[in-house]
């Protein structure tokens, strides 16, 4: 059988991040978190920064975590994970998978220095960023991952800056493994997590995790939105192993960005007058640059 998702071979489903969490229906981050931890397996410690993931998964007395879970502040999940790793080393225990994780706010803005420090010191930690392109937990404020043209509560007329390219920044730290993934291709995502955990040293995986509430699309479209983000070229899928760009996902059929933008309420203002606003051309330009840069 040749169908793409015919067999679930090589795919893990252990529900280590279990049901009963308070995420919205169709939450991309909840889906991503489950996929990541199922791939990592039971021998894992999750160090989670403040954010949606922590808020919806950890209320007492019924958290969703079936593995050790450590909540830290917004800015220091990477630092805490570094400490956990150092403690295990000092105690002579392990090996154990340590996954530091946070949303795009804690990764790109507030916790950036601690991540940079973790990369630089070379801790054996995987950092997973769930990128939903704004501070969704606190009510959809702009972050440095918010894409150009997107409306948030702090950029009501559309964001004026481009998205920070953290995967490349991480790669420039000289860490052994950087990858991007989305929740729609669960096989690819889980393979990347497994591959990352098999490598010694700091690793970074950037996962696009749509937020139906903040992005203004219906929960059922989470996977489709991810797919369009990839196929328009706005979210390139690649791996950087030892500084070399590899495994770039080629776009099978290139899709104009309008199709991606029109699904989402946060870009609705760009199509208000019946014709696409000039920002749409700019966003298309960003996609084209990505396509050229990564040879998608």
């Amino acid at each position: 059988m040749t169908e793409k998702s015919r067999y679930l071979e090589g795919v893990e489903k252990k529900d280590l991040f279990a049901h009963g969490h308070r995420a919205c229906g169709g939450c991309g981050q909840a889906l991503a978190a489950r996929l990541v931890h199922d791939a990592a397996g039971e021998n894992t410690i999750a160090c989670v920064a403040t954010g949606c993931l922590e808020v919806f998964s950890s209320p007492y007395p019924d958290p969703s975590w079936r593995i050790p879970f450590l909540h830290s502040l917004f800015e220091n999940s990477a630092a805490v994970a570094s400490g956990v790793e150092a403690a295990y080393k000092a105690l002579g225990k392990g090996p154990v998978n340590i996954i530091a994780q946070g949303g795009d706010g804690s990764t790109a803005d507030i916790g950036f220095q601690s991540i940079s420090g973790m990369f630089e010191r070379g801790h054996n930690v995987l950092y997973v960023c769930y990128d939903n392109e704004a501070y969704m937990n606190t009510g959809v404020q702009r972050s440095s991952f918010t894409p150009y043209g997107a409306r948030t509560t702090t950029t009501p007329t559309g964001n004026r800056t481009r998205k920070k390219n953290l995967p490349m920044i991480a790669a420039d730290h000289g860490i052994p493994y950087v990858a991007t993934a989305t929740v729609d291709d669960f096989r690819d995502l889980q393979q990347k997590v497994k591959k990352a955990l098999s490598i010694e040293g700091p690793k970074y995986i950037h996962i696009l995790a749509p937020c139906p509430l903040g992005w203004g699309h219906h929960g059922e479209l989470t996977v489709q939105v991810c797919r369009l983000a990839k196929d328009t070229g706005l979210f390139p899928i690649f791996e950087i192993v030892d500084g070399k760009l590899t495994n770039v996902r080629k776009i099978p059929v290139k899709v104009p960005v309008e199709e991606y933008l029109k699904l989402q309420g946060r870009f609705k203002h760009l199509f208000k007058r019946g014709v696409p606003a000039k920002e749409v051309a700019e966003i298309q330009e960003i996609a084209n640059e990505n396509i050229e840069r990564f040879n998608l």
């Binding site: 229906g25 996929l35 019924d62 079936r66």
Partner: protein
Amino acid sequence: MDKLPLGLALDLRNVVPYKTGSWRTLMPVNIMHTPPCTQECPAGNDIRGFLRTLAEKKDYEEAWHVLTRTNPMPAICGRVCPHPCEEGCNRRDFDSPLAINSAERAVGDYGLEENLEHKKLIAARKEKVAVIGSGPAGLSCAFHLAKRGFKVKIYEAYGEPGGMMRYGIPSYRLPNYILRQELENILKLGIDLECNVKVGVNIPMDQLMQTYDAVFLGIGAQKGMSVDIPGEDSKNVYTGVEFLREVNSGKYMNVGKDVVVIGGGNTAMDCARVAKRLGANVSVVYRRTRVEMPAITAEIDEAMEERVMFRYHTNPVKIISDDGKVVGILCVQMELKEPDASGRARPVPLPGSESVIPADTVILATGQSADYDGIEVQKRDGKWVATSETLMTNVDGVFAGGDVVLGLETVSAAIGQGTRAASAIEDYIDGSVESRLSRPPVIYSKDLNTYYYQKKRRFEKEALPIHMRLKHFKEIYPPLDPEAIIDEAGRCFSCGLCFNCGNCFMYCPDNAVKISPKTGLYEFDLDFCKGCGLCAKECPCHYIQMTLEK
């Protein structure tokens, strides 16, 4: 208290999760849809079922049993059916439809090779049913009744069973041994067969109605209709049915050098191709054009490949004979005018366009009718039997089906009618009202999420080269490769029924899709499902749908 593992301050591993199912306004449900192939199939075959069995289990035997639940003659239908299922296939809008007909033939052939036997559903019952005619309708009705335990006896007017399949379909399309084996297999269910008995002539209809609890009338359309033209009583003028019957009975026909076939239906095509194999130059004379021809497209194509001449817009006026034997046929050119009652363009003769086509044999394949000798039933249009919705005629306890009801139709249509009549007869005998089984809704391409399917080439059966075909009456399509058929079955979308792709299972953000420990299928954990609809959206075959919460 147990010592906590390193890293745990609170042991919350065995908590009772918070039931998020109460948030839901929409609820996912599994709804099995009717795939368009089954919808289009006149016999109502479970096409998706047998293709998925082939693809998943690679099990021809089980596929044969799935197929023969509705159709007792897969090897025959796999050869002669014009496969409307392929017209319906949702894959048509994606790349190209599945080669369902070839798959059916491969499964049927496997059944014959391995001598697979039909299974009876229930033990014997005492009620008896008579079936008149052993064509596809009669056999199908007898088959389904016998499976349900009835005592069935078939009366056949000719020397061998099979009806039009035996005497109407030439053996290059349907080899005789295939027909015989498949019929024997049906008769093994304990069906009695009496040949050379013409009901109404050799045995009165009343006697049957008294001896049996019900009678099924599947006499077909065995009588060729003549066109009213002068000279049709000459020697070497045959009706199509007559001609095919003679050839299929194994009689050598000396047709001469030139043969003219009049008509554009399936019988005309069969006659033309048979005459071609007998060594003649064949022209088909038809008064409209190819577009209006009622024959199956593939057959017209094959006839053209075999160098049968087609003369369109031509109407016979007179058969010219010399010393009582045909020498030619006088034809007139026609012009097409506004459509008539049948929706086809109305041909009008062009004055002064008469011409003579030389002919040693003329075959009139311009229509057939049923032979009602000694059988009194109410008819519609004076030609075909009028039946109620349950296929009962105006005579209580006498049911009818097949060509005698439908007019000139296909083998699969007759099988479908036989199946329906069998259910109606069972209901009639049991005294229960027919429960009208409503089918689940049909699913069309627009409902599918085709992202998860891959484009793949369609399996094409290969015909013998034309010069080889015309030398003999052997089948023009050699046996099919079973492995290639399994590959082809793998192309099936499984429209409207889960094929365990695992999308719902993997994509649910709330882990609310579980594998049922009882059935091994996916099921929803409604305690936790928030009703986001992601599973329904990403279900490739539209098996999952969202409905309003109760």
